[in-house]
Symmetry: C2
Subunit: 332 residues, 2 copies
């Protein structure tokens, strides 16, 4: 049975919603859960449920890193922070994966320090499906690496392909660079140089795609630097919020409140996958690490635990390792 | 009376819709229009309307540059191209502004060659209001300059401020850099370096904004490089199209077809301002140049002519010149 260490103290609704989601996962999803954090607080929450017959237990950690604390400094000062203890369980073999609802920075730093990086990776990478309109498309990097070298984009593509194969069951995923024009020769310097690397690679590279190609899912793996990825994901969240808000006004009085809410929820889910799926994997580290949104409640926590389980069951990290090792050693 | 040279041969629906839009502008908007292109074809269209009492006339140009032709090469080979002749009318003083529905590349190149660049500008810049949700916000650069220096971003900000003042009537526009985090120190190298220049400038600089701040209109002028701007604008178009398409399915049978269409149109207008307003100004050239979408029909053509008229009446170019001249000469 897959064993997942869950940081019970991370997120806006910790520990209540974290424990609730963990109980649900342990009961319904066939995973064993280790809740890591302030023992008394966790036990108080656990007492609300009948957990006698489900695989869930508690590991104590006396410290907590709050949202907004500078991650590396916080980790240095708080060696018994819940996120650190949970990550160490993966390192020691006590768990197969770690899940936290934040802070993202602390989890990433903790994972990078404790588990180490995969070959050729300088910093962790965020990626995954981005839009419900394009469920067979993953975007890498969705927000970590602001300044990239062409070779980094190649490593994003390599990881994206493995994820599309393993998590989305696409045998030979198409790969594209996000650019300001479809033709070869379009792009900023980074994209133009990466284009040449991609062409020579063993990727199923179909060239550049443009911004409007993302919701159309014109490639299975769309590669961009983390600066562009971050802006896109946040812009998408903000725009969908504005559109939903406007629709609520426009539809008011024409449809029932329930219908309007359902439409808003559907559009929200289509445009905020990280929120609704519960969390995304952190790529480039030597272990299964899932980070969820700080706003996550129990269903998203259970979803994040499920993502971790899938990644373990499909041997995702082993595949990432072997594919990254096959990347040519020279170049950008 | 403002006199606008209109490239009658540019755009998917040229010359029919161009002539129709020009007639409307000349009749209703108090502008004089010079239609430039194949004389016979234009006259044939003009004969459909009673133009005896409105200020509209034709200047012949024997060649046309099609969408997709490499602009500089095409301009070299086709010195009598309609877009070139129309731009030359501005240079010679025969017109106050030029309007074309494309190709964008040919118009920009023609304007840059014929009218020349404003001080410190290396390439033309696209900018303006981007989202109906944020009508008091302009974004610069929306798509031309893929690789930028920090100092270029400062010139975008300077131009954006003039545009916000003159075209949106905002006395002291706030200026922000688009970044992957709000705090100083967030950003890619370009944004971090530009941040320091902006801080020392006379701009009303409020720091970084993030992707979700764009629809909220968190600053009056949002600055990014043209690579990011292009991807954002196209992503926005594509996403809104997907959302509208989904809504049509969801609302089918619950609202009348007319109501659904009206909702779709409202959302389209809020998310495709360049389309609905008819065109954007090309900045950084020494003259009023408006480029519209290739798909433009008569209303958008009239809208583009109106934008040109406004820019002439507000002495936009003179203001841009004096503000750019005031920029510090040193730096990135």
């Amino acid at each position: 049975m897959v064993r997942v260490a869950v940081d019970a103290m991370g997120g806006d609704y910790a520990p209540q919603e974290i424990v609730k989601g963990a109980v649900r996962a342990a009961r319904e999803d066939g995973v064993e859960v280790i809740l890591v954090g302030t023992q008394d607080a966790i036990r108080e929450e656990l007492n609300k449920y009948n957990t006698s017959s489900i695989p869930i237990r508690v590991v104590n950690a006396t410290q907590v890193i709050r949202e907004g604390e500078p991650p590396t400094k916080a980790l240095r000062q708080k060696s018994d922070a819940s996120v650190m203890v949970a990550t160490q369980l993966v390192k020691s073999g006590g768990a197969n994966a770690v899940v936290s609802m934040g802070s993202t920075g602390a989890l990433m730093a903790s994972a990078f320090i404790t588990l180490g990086a995969l070959e050729g990776i300088k910093r962790p990478v965020a990626g995954g499906a981005f839009l419900g309109f394009a469920p067979h498309t993953v975007v890498f990097d969705m927000g970590v690496n602001a300044d990239c070298q062409p070779r980094q984009l190649l490593s994003f593509a390599t990881m994206g392909r493995v994820v599309a194969q393993k998590m989305l069951n696409i045998p030979n995923p198409t790969v594209a660079l996000l650019s300001n024009g479809a033709e070869e020769g379009k792009g900023n310097r980074l994209v133009k140089e990466a284009y040449q690397l991609f062409k020579k690679s063993n990727l199923n590279f179909i060239g550049n795609v443009e911004g409007n190609d993302i919701p159309l899912g014109r490639a299975n793996v769309i590669v961009c630097d983390g600066f562009v990825g971050n802006i896109l994901v946040k812009f998408c969240e903000g725009l969908s919020k504005s559109i939903i808000g406007r629709l609520k006004v426009t539809l008011d009085g024409r449809l029932s409140k329930e219908e309007i809410d359902a439409i808003g929820k559907e559009l929200f889910a289509l445009t905020n996958m990280a929120d609704t799926e519960g969390g995304g994997l952190v790529y480039g580290v030597d272990g299964v690490v899932v980070v969820g949104h700080g706003r996550s409640r129990a269903p998203q926590v259970a979803g994040a635990i499920h993502s971790a389980k899938l990644a373990v069951e499909t041997n995702l990290i082993e595949s990432l390792k072997s594919e990254l090792a096959r990347m040519p050693k020279i170049g950008g």
